[in-house]
């Protein structure tokens, strides 16, 4: 058994996968350094140093076999932060090399591929919800600020959506759980990684004068557009799970 330790990045993971083939390892596990606890004392440790050209070679080969959309699915598995993500992606790459003419990800009868498809579905669902449930609040400095706390790391998947949508206003989306965000300043739209946790209380006190007015209007609209005779809370909660409520203006 060989344990490959990588730096936790997407590129690092694919470098590690390259080396599995390079060194012809049979029995391997790939673990990110952050999550590594040595349990299997007989395992041999192999430290992976991220190398872009190795990553590129795997990705190029994969793109030929499973297409851009296939790689996008593997990216979603990576962003899911699932404990099995390395093993699943490795399994997909191995199978794809074995069957280069088929899109192996569509073999839903295989357990690993089915798991990948399920993870992709969950990640996509949350990605979609984050395009829906982000609520911007206008600040005194004219920045529209939103905080999120998704189960999966979907911020990289929604950047383009918001970038296309809001080009004439400054905005920021901040992931509270992972402590990073996206900032658009009318010119650039980049990720930022603050050294310290954002002090929300301090930030929230600086609402733009009209902000609470529009929040009230939205809350009143939300109440009034409901048909009381058709009340169906079960359905409501199915669509808007409770864990999102604390960030939804209409629910507060």
């Amino acid at each position: 058994m060989t344990t490959l330790l990588y730096d936790g990045s997407f590129d690092g993971l694919f470098t590690a996968i390259f080396e599995v083939f390079e060194y012809r390892y049979k029995d391997v596990e790939i673990v990110s350094r952050e999550r590594f606890h040595q349990e299997n004392i007989f395992a041999e440790i192999h430290e992976v140093i991220t190398q872009n050209e190795k990553t590129e070679r795997v990705l190029n080969k994969l793109e030929k076999n499973i297409g851009k959309s296939g790689i996008h699915e593997l990216l979603k598995v990576y962003l899911s932060e699932d404990s099995e993500l390395e093993q699943l992606i490795l399994s997909a790459v191995k199978q794809s090399i074995q069957h280069p003419t088929e899109n192996i990800l569509q073999n839903y009868a295989d357990n690993d591929m089915l798991k990948i498809s399920k993870i992709c579905k969950s990640v996509s669902r949350e990605r979609h919800r984050m395009t829906a449930f982000v609520r911007f609040e206008k600040m005194q400095d004219d920045v529209f600020f939103a905080k999120i706390d998704p189960d999966f790391n979907v911020l990289p998947l929604i950047r383009k959506h918001f970038k296309n949508r809001y080009q004439d206003q400054k905005w920021m989306i901040y992931d509270l759980r992972r402590n990073y965000g996206i900032l658009y300043d009318l010119e650039n739209c980049d990720f930022f990684y603050p050294d310290e946790k954002l002090d929300l209380n301090k930030y929230q006190q600086k609402f733009h004068d009209e902000e609470t007015q529009y929040q009230t209007l939205w809350q009143r609209y939300f109440t009034k557009t409901n048909i009381v005779e058709r009340k169906n809370l079960k359905l409501h909660i199915q669509h808007v799970p409770r864990r999102y409520w604390k960030y939804l203006t209409e629910k507060n």
């Binding site: 829906a132 009143r220 669509h239």
Partner: protein, 419 residues
Amino acid sequence: MNFDRLKEKLEILADAAKYDVSCSSSGGSRKNKKGALGDSSASGICHTYTEDGRCVSLLKILLTNHCIYDCAYCVSRSSNDIKRAGFTVDEVVDLTINFYRRNYIEGLFLSSGIFKNADTTMERLVRVAKKLRLEENFNGYIHLKSIPGASDELMQEAALYADRLSINIEIPTESGLKLLAPEKNRQDMLNPMKYIQNGIAQYKDEKKIFRKVPKFAPAGQSTQMIVGATNENDLQIIKVADHFYKNFNLKRVYYSGYVPVLEDKRLPSLTTAVPMLRENRLYQSDWLMRFYGFKAEEILDPNMPFLDLEVDPKLSWALRHLHQFPINLQTADYQMILRIPGIGVKTAQKIVSARRFQVLTIEHLKKLGAAVNRAKYFIDFTAGNIHLRHLTDINLRKLLIGGSTSKFQNQFSQQLTLF
């Protein structure tokens, strides 16, 4: 801006617009121009859901609830004693933009009571859309409710600025409409619809020749009818929907179970329950027609004019066509797999993908997301299927009903006690 007054108007005019079923923001794509606001994609986004479980993707309001008509089923009817209000064009524009900027909505759904006459009202609706597009550079979604009887010129302009247009045909049958809305007539509704349909066809032709043609109602048209206010049957309703899909190329037909809000001897009494289950079955039938390749005549026929409330329309069809089953998953074509009860579009696609790699079993089917408790009676696996012995059983229907729980169970409990 006077926020208190605006809030009061919003409360009145959102409340009055809530019976319009459509809130969809799908079907139109409008790319953002450099530096402007808004971008809509074909799939649309529901930004929240009301407590009745319906999606909110648009700011759905009336421009005004003043109305010269007196339609029996409508809360805004002229003889109803309610608070009246009206937005200015600027107020609607301001609300739309500010809600959109905060990511509350995908755009605007604007309808209106009819004040003065059809054209005056329509002109005002068009002005809102025009201002949003031309002055605010807004590329979000706009759905305008066309006013029956509006002139071709106004419809032309509306289609240039809105993504979707719709006219509610209100009541499925003409006789029903005569009874409940004597001042309205079907032809006034169909003419603008026909005009837009021709315009869309013409746009598509021109688009083949010229690269830049101004968008013309890119998300198409929809309509809506009230179910259960008059005594039409489901067969009539499905036929009407089918007619609109085929002859008017409508994107959607919506069904709205009548919510009794007014006392009127022509209408069901105020204590009548909203026909939620019937509405649900109609939507299921609508899906069968649009995504599953079913024809209207296959879903219902004159001998069976109402949808089965105990089982969904696809299962009901299967039970009436047992001779077409069992279906072999390995060899059957996609269209036939779609007809197996308990298998939806996604699962059917996955089956067709996965069977290229290996022979499928009932365990695979479960994992692919099929409702196996229903599907298992209708499928022949290569390795055989013990459940098939029930296929010819006269009790298959009972077996199926017993094997599933419905969210509407309490609604047909009355019927079940008969047995």
